[in-house]
């Protein structure tokens, strides 16, 4: 069963009708191939027009779609010889952050990401992608490891944000995030971050202080969730869609503001409708970004990365 979002209702109805007609045909009833074909065209064109003009709030819902490919899907599809690594060497292992080594198109790389899980069991296991200090400390450890062995770093970001908990605060959540940002900025190797779903505030930038930050077409990247922003600035969670608009959290807006480097187009109807095509597009874009960075020496890489972040927000963008 495909999961439909609220705004996809008309599409769901059409697709339901197609399914129903097909079943009557299969049951030996009258041949309705013509009718099915017409309906399918209609559903496709409705999908196209709907997704061509998604509002920022609708994109937020697509970015959080339960069927959307997650960090581990990208790792399974893009990384061979995947060798997961665990632990922060101080307190524990945080499954919200996935880290390890593998090969991307034959080249050894270090891989990092936040994993939300795709069913109840795995969501609980990965704490819904909300990391604790040990998660960010593991990320930092792997980034330092990558630097030591000259491995490029690839990260896949999909998180609502860092976990807000008593223990997380007691163990220095803020410090862990700060150090992870620092490790990314200091990495002597190429670092490419891809925001695949939700780029939630400090928990996202902790894994995205990169040379190139890529964003999927319907992903979001924001300093606060639209709901959080609405409840603080409008004192009303119901204003989330207005807040989403105001926050300029879409890939298109962030590219225009020069806060990200590239937008990766999604298959018609979102990444979850064709994960294979999505993974292929992400792999192509990462490869395109990685190639020109590989010959650069550590000082040049670091220097350019710093200059890029230092420029952010300094100039008004029309």
């Amino acid at each position: 069963m495909r999961h439909f979002l609220e705004f996809e209702k008309p599409i769901a109805e059409l697709e339901g009708k197609i399914e129903e007609l097909r079943r009557t045909t299969d049951a030996g009833g009258i041949d309705v191939a013509d009718e099915v074909g017409k309906l399918r065209d209609k559903a496709q064109s409705l999908l196209r027009t709907t997704y061509a003009k998604l509002t920022p709030w609708q994109k937020t819902l697509v970015a959080r779609h339960p069927d959307r490919p997650k960090c581990l899907d990208y790792i399974r599809g893009l990384i061979s010889e995947w060798t997961p690594l665990a632990g922060d060497r101080a307190f524990g292992d945080d499954a919200a952050v996935v880290a390890g080594l593998g090969r991307f198109r034959g080249r050894s790389v270090a891989v990092l990401g936040t994993e939300k899980g795709n069913d109840t069991e795995s969501r609980v296991k990965h704490n819904f992608g909300m990391a604790k200090p040990e998660g960010y400390r593991k990320a930092r450890r792997i980034m330092e490891l990558a630097g030591r062995f000259g491995l490029p770093i690839l990260s896949f970001v999909d998180t609502a944000g860092a976990f807000p908990g008593i223990e997380a605060e007691a163990r220095g959540q803020a410090e862990a995030i700060a150090r992870s940002i620092e490790a990314g900025l200091d990495a002597p190797v190429p670092f490419i971050a891809t925001i695949i779903g939700e780029g939630g505030s400090g928990g996202a930038i902790a894994l995205a202080a990169a040379d190139r930050v890529l964003m999927l077409e319907h992903a979001i990247y924001s300093v606060i969730s639209p709901e959080g922003c609405a409840s603080i600035l409008w004192r009303d969670q119901a204003m989330a869609s207005t807040a989403a608009e105001a926050l300029k959290l879409t890939a298109e807006d962030l590219k225009r503001l020069a806060l990200i480097d590239a937008v990766i187009p999604e298959p018609m109807g979102g990444a979850h409708r064709d994960p294979e095509a999505m993974l292929a597009a992400v792999a192509r874009q990462i490869a395109d970004c990685l190639d020109p960075l590989l010959p650069l020496d550590p000082a040049t890489l670091r220097g350019r990365r710093r200059d890029k972040f230092l420029e952010m927000g300094r100039h008004a963008v029309a």
Partner: protein, 308 residues
């Protein structure tokens, strides 16, 4: 109009009405113990309650006056674009910003100054919580980067006094990007071999804590300051547990290994001066040694002769 309304009524008003206004102007109520404090006493006590020791919030200028030697100089900061997202909630962000600028007499939430602390050269950046909650804007990022560059140029330590609610939502992801930007600022200072000291004041939360504030060579906080990443309400709603006593207060962070020390406002200047001089003048002239709080024992010969 007669003499009653022209002369007697105002007189009576002065006699009976005016005293009611006096507490507002001359007396302050401690937000912690609720005792009344005469304004001159409060100023003399550096805005620390003489009854309960509660450290009240102070503005950036006052903070610099309390910490730096007289004659510190404010640095002009490069201007960041105002309202880059043309953000509007119930009010326009550009209006909120203008209002805050007029009220505070400064461009954004951080004041950068150079001068000395007990004769030790220093560059200081102080947050003003009253300026839109000390939130991180591109302008704040600009201030921190400028302060770092100035410290490197002057070969002076950088001291940042934080007081911030975190991100400035009205600048969206630009505000988020001030986290890596401010981290780069700390790297510049450290790479130049200069001390970077963070003094966390009430409150220091969110993106400020999760970036430059937690990367100091030294972490100092004022007593009772609220310091943390996530807001208490958000944590309570997420974990559905009662928060422990003193949670996210300076003393709690000290106990959890996140701070080096909690220092009273009155001792901040001397503490900072001592740290700077220990690092910057490692071979200062020998002074009478005081070991572990007890006076050093006299030399063995002297001791022996004293016993006889």
């Amino acid at each position: 109009m007669n003499w009653i309304s022209e002369w007697a009524l105002p007189k009576i008003k002065t006699l009976f009405g005016a005293p009611r206004e006096v507490p507002e102007n001359l007396w302050h109520k401690c937000p912690s113990c609720e005792q009344m404090i005469f304004h001159r006493d409060l100023e003399r006590a550096l805005h620390v309650c003489p009854h309960c020791g509660h450290h009240m919030r102070v503005g950036a200028r006052t903070r610099l006056d309390y910490t730096m030697d007289p004659g510190w100089q404010k640095i002009e900061l490069p201007k960041a674009p105002a309202d880059p997202l043309r953000f509007r909630d119930q009010r326009r962000y550009s209006d909120r910003l203008k209002e805050a600028q007029l009220k505070a007499g400064q461009e954004d939430a951080v004041l950068v100054a150079h001068g000395a602390i007990e004769g030790n050269r220093a560059v200081c950046a102080a947050f003003d919580f009253s300026f839109l909650g000390g939130s991180m804007s591109a302008g704040v990022g600009e201030a921190l980067v400028t302060a770092a560059r100035l410290a490197v140029l002057q070969e002076a330590p950088l001291i940042v006094f934080t007081a911030s609610g975190g991100a400035r939502m009205q600048e969206g992801t630009i505000s988020l990007m001030q986290m890596p930007r401010s981290v780069i600022a700390t790297r510049m200072v450290k790479e130049a071999g200069l001390p970077y000291i963070v003094v966390m004041c009430d409150p220091t939360t969110g993106g400020v804590t999760a970036s430059f504030a937690m990367l100091g060579d030294f972490h100092i906080a004022e007593p009772g300051a609220l310091i943390g990443f996530a807001g208490a309400r958000v944590i309570e709603q997420t974990v559905r547990e009662k928060l422990p006593e003193g949670f996210q207060r300076a003393e709690y962070l000290l106990a959890h290994g996140i701070l080096d020390m909690v220092v009273k406002r009155g001792e901040m200047r001397a503490t900072l001066a001592r740290i700077i001089s220990l690092l910057r003048m490692p071979e200062a002239a020998a002074e009478p040694a005081v070991l572990g709080g007890t006076i050093a024992l006299p030399a063995p010969e002297a001791g022996a002769s004293a016993v006889q």
